[in-house]
Every structure is written in C-alpha cells, then in structure tokens.
C-alpha cells in the first residue's frame, strides 16, 4: 500500500527527470551533432573542458555569481529584514521588495535590459539628470556586465530571502532577548549574540539555496546578454546551452551539465546530510 501512494510521484519524476538525466550522462561520452550518428568519445569531452579557455572564464563567472549572490540578495535580505521589522511603514517596504518576486525571469530580463541600455536606458537617463558625466555600458563592458546582471538578480531575489529572515526573526522567543537587554547589551550585541545564532537554521537554508541557484543561474543571463559579448558573461549553465544549442556539440554540452550537477550536489551535500540526520532523529 505504501508503494501505491508513492508511485505516481515516483513514476513521473523517474520517467521524466531521472532516466533522462542518466541518458544525458551517457551522451556525455559521445561526440554528436544531434543529426549524424553519435561517435563514442570516451572521456575526451571531460578532458576538453580543462583546456577550454571559455570554460575557465565561465567557471570564474560562476564563482563571482556565487560569491556576490551571497553578499547581495542573501545578506541584503537579512539586513532589510532586520531593519524593516517594527518600523513605521513596515508593510509598505515589505511589499516593495516583494513585487519583483511574482514576475517571471523573461519579464525581469526584458525590464532590466531596458533599464540598463546605454543610450536609451533609464539608469543612464537618471545619471544624466543628476548631472553625473558617466555613461557606462552596463551589458557590454567586462566585468561590469556580470555585476549588472547580479544586480538585476538581486532586484528579483532579495524579497524571498527577506521573507525567510523575517519569518525566522518572528519565531525568536522574547525571553533571551530581554535577558540580554537587562544584562546591558546594546542592539548590535543582542543581534550578534542572540538573534543571529537563533537564525542559524534559516541562514543555512538561505545560503544553500542562494548558492545552488546561483550555480544554476540561466534565465536572466540568457535574456540579458546570452553570455556575451564574446562569452565574457557566461556561466557554466550558459556555456552548456551555447555548446548544445548554437554549436550542436551535444556530447560536450552534456559533459558540462554533468560537471555542473556534480558541483551543485557537492554544495548541497552538507544540507542533505543535515536533513538525513534529522530524519534519523525523528524516529
């Protein structure tokens, strides 16, 4: 009976996700253009990644994404959550950061491509209004383009993290905070010694999710720069897409996605282990 209950979910996921993934691993050992018959290629696709300068660049960009999504949307979400709590107009501010969350990546990409245009973009328009004699090319100068996109990403993602931290802050009991204040601690000390440690479980989730999502980031880059100019803003996910869809290197693309998956699994390993442990504790 227990298997009957799990069957629909299991069957769908295995048939449409897990088996195709295994097939993808299989493809990664072939040289294949999608039309002609595949040729067995051994580990060559994997070895080629080590000498491919574009992949090295994508790796670097991916790391930049990971680091800065930890700084901006994640840490930013925490800061906003902490400061906005109890403030007059709290709900208004929360709603503002909440709006972008509902919008698709397609829309976000379109909106920010317009915002960041050099000639007609709003941001440069604002700079001109303020009399600042700067006219950056947000999407074509390297490495500014990657940071511009991280900014657009922050615009969209900050809300999620803010909500998570808000909720975490809401569950902290009053007693230890009051005890701390009685001991003469100031706000900052209370935060560091009491609140932050109690936010640990949420912080873990936010960090894991931010890292996993920034490794996988695709849509927004695809809509805004498509990884260009000259692959300068590519991440691994985009490289894989370019190899597969514009160059028709199906095998090589598959190999990149396998490596990307391994990295993601490695990162979430700690989180999964925590989940496993708790699962054992539960019984």
């Amino acid at each position: 009976m227990s298997y009957v209950f799990i069957l629909p979910a299991f069957a769908l996921v295995v048939a449409l996700l897990v088996l195709p993934m295994m097939q993808n691993v299989y493809y990664s050992f072939f040289k294949w253009d999608g039309i002609s018959p595949p040729l067995f290629n051994g580990l060559k696709n994997y070895l080629a990644m080590f000498t491919d300068p574009v992949i090295a660049g994508s790796m670097l960009n991916t790391v930049i994404w990971v680091v800065f999504t930890l700084v901006f949307p994640a840490l930013g979400g925490l800061v906003v959550a902490v400061f906005v709590t109890g403030l007059r107009g709290e709900n208004f501010f929360k709603s503002v950061f909440f709006i972008p969350l509902t919008i698709s990546f397609v829309a976000t990409g379109i909106i920010w491509t317009y915002m960041l245009g050099r000639e007609l973009g709003v941001l440069n328009g604002v700079l001109a209004l303020l009399g600042i004699p700067l006219k950056p090319s947000y999407l074509t100068s390297v490495p500014l383009n990657t940071f511009s996109m991280i900014f657009a990403w922050t615009w969209q993602q900050l809300g999620t993290n803010m909500v998570m931290f808000l909720m975490g802050l809401g569950t902290i009991p009053r007693d230890p905070i009051e005890a701390c204040i009685i001991d003469g601690a100031n706000k900052w000390q209370t935060f560091v010694h009491v609140k932050f440690p109690m936010l640990a479980p949420i912080t873990t989730v936010v960090i894991t999710m931010a890292m996993v999502n920034s490794f996988k980031v695709f849509d927004i880059i695809y809509v805004m720069t498509r990884g260009g100019p000259y692959s300068s803003s590519e991440t691994l996910a985009i490289s894989m897409f370019r190899e597969t869809f514009t160059l028709f290197h199906m095998g090589y693309g598959a190999a990149i996605s396998v490596v990307l998956s391994l990295i993601v699994i490695l990162i979430s390993a700690a989180y999964i282990r925590r989940m496993t442990k708790r699962d054992m504790l539960y019984y």
Binding site: M1, S2, Y3, F5, I6, P8, A9, F10, L12, V13, L16, L17, V18, P20, M21, Q23, N24, Y27, F83, V84, L87, F97, I99, P100, L101, T102, I103, S104, F105, V106, A107, I110, I111, W112, Y114, G121, V122, G125, L129, W155, V163, M164, M167, T171, P201, V205, V212, F218, D219, V223, T244, G253, S257, V258, L260, S261, I265, S268, I272, Y282
Partner: protein, 275 residues
Amino acid sequence: MTRWLRKAPVYAVLVLLTLMWLLPVVSSFLVSFKSSEDFVSQTFYQLPTQIYFFKNLVTVIAQYRLLDNLGNSLMYSAAGTVVVIIAASMAGFSIVRLRPKFNFALFLIIYSGTLFPFQMYLIPVYRLFNTLNLYDTRTGMVLIYSAICIPFSLFVYRGFYTTIPREIEEAAKLDGCGPARTFISVFLPQSLAPTAVVALFQATWIWNDLLFGMVLSRAQSVRPIMVAVATMTGYGGGNIPWIMTAVIFTSIPTILLFVVLRKFFIQGMVLSITS
C-alpha cells in the same frame, strides 16, 4: 524625537532602496503607455502624449495571439498544480507515515529533481517526448510541468506531515481506518496550508516557464504564454512599448495570485525551512 533621529539613517537607506526597486516598475509602466513614436522621440521620464496602453494591448493580443497562449498557460498552471498536489501529498504521506522500505532513498531520488540543473534532462526529455508522441501536445506539457514541480512539493508536504501528531493517526487506526481512509479523513483535511503553498509556488513557476515551453511545444494551440512574450523580443529587441505592455499584461495573474495567497506564502516558507 531622538528616536526618530536615530531611525533617520535607516529610513534614508530604505527609501533609497525603495526608489531603486520601484524605478523599473514605474518606468516599465510608463513605456507601456507610450506609442512607438512617443517612445522613439521622448526621454524615459516624459509622460506619453496620449494613452496608448490599450491600443498596444489590442495590437499585441491580435498579432501574437496572446489569448490562445494565455488559455494554454492557465490550463497548465491549473492542471499541473492539481496533479502535483495529489501526487506529492500522497507520496509525502507514504514516506512520513507508511514508511516503505528505503523511504529515505526514495525521497532523495525524487528530491534530486530540484538539485540538478534542467540542462541535465532537457535534450533527453525532448527526444523521449518525440518517441512517445508527447512532443507538442498539451498532455506532454502538463506531464513535464508536474514532474518538475513534484520534488519541491513533496518536500513541503513531507515537512508538514512530520508535524502532525502521531496520536491522531493511532486513534484513526483503532477506529479501523486503512491508510487510504487515514490519508483522506485525517491528513488531507489538515493540509490546507501546504496545499496553498504548493499551489502558489507551482502555478507561478509553470506560468513563468519559458524554456520547456519553447523546446517542447511548437503549435500556437500548445505553447505557453512566456514563449509568446519572448517571441516579441525576437533577436532584435522588438517594439519596446508592445513588449512592456505584454510583460505587464502577462504578469497580472501571478501578481494577483501572490496578493491573494500572500499569507500562505509566509507560512510556506516556514514549512519548507523549519521542517
């Protein structure tokens, strides 16, 4: 007064951030109200000489057949979400309470669906759909969207069901309920919060998807809405007032959904984290 002064810098930063967050929204709205001529000849902050939003909307809907795609996406969001709710709640119940052998392994296999980047399965799924005659069919779209949404939903249900006290279930067992009865009469009635969360997240995700719609469908009668929006940008950036109009028009359903289910959104976060 001193309290106000102390808060002043915080307000200043927040107001600045608010402006930064609202600027894209406001500018996009402004553009959607302009005609192409206004857009070409004006700067970004100027008001349109005449309100063109509805004209833009009519043009866009007629030219790109947005309503067909809108209908498809509504169907995918509704059907996909329902399939996911049924499959994931049952699986969650099974894993937490019926505890089949290897339940944790089974859970991890399903959960791995959220960890892997979609690039891992995109091409093989395309080929699979082709052999099964699911390519470019609505059934195929519902199936793939359901499969992608199940892992996260299962995670939510599983987390939630661990919080339901065992005693209730024991009582049901004593009353002679089998697992099916227990699930339907004990677990389901309490599942409103996780169900709302799953509905909110997954319906939004399906609505906003571009890639799978783009790769797995071709006919206008099957394609989801975001493909139509993206088509307008083509390789040339397209007509920006039209595009912005379409962006706003197609964002309305998800914004409404969030407004209506906002309370559950926060609860959902609690569920997916604290469990």
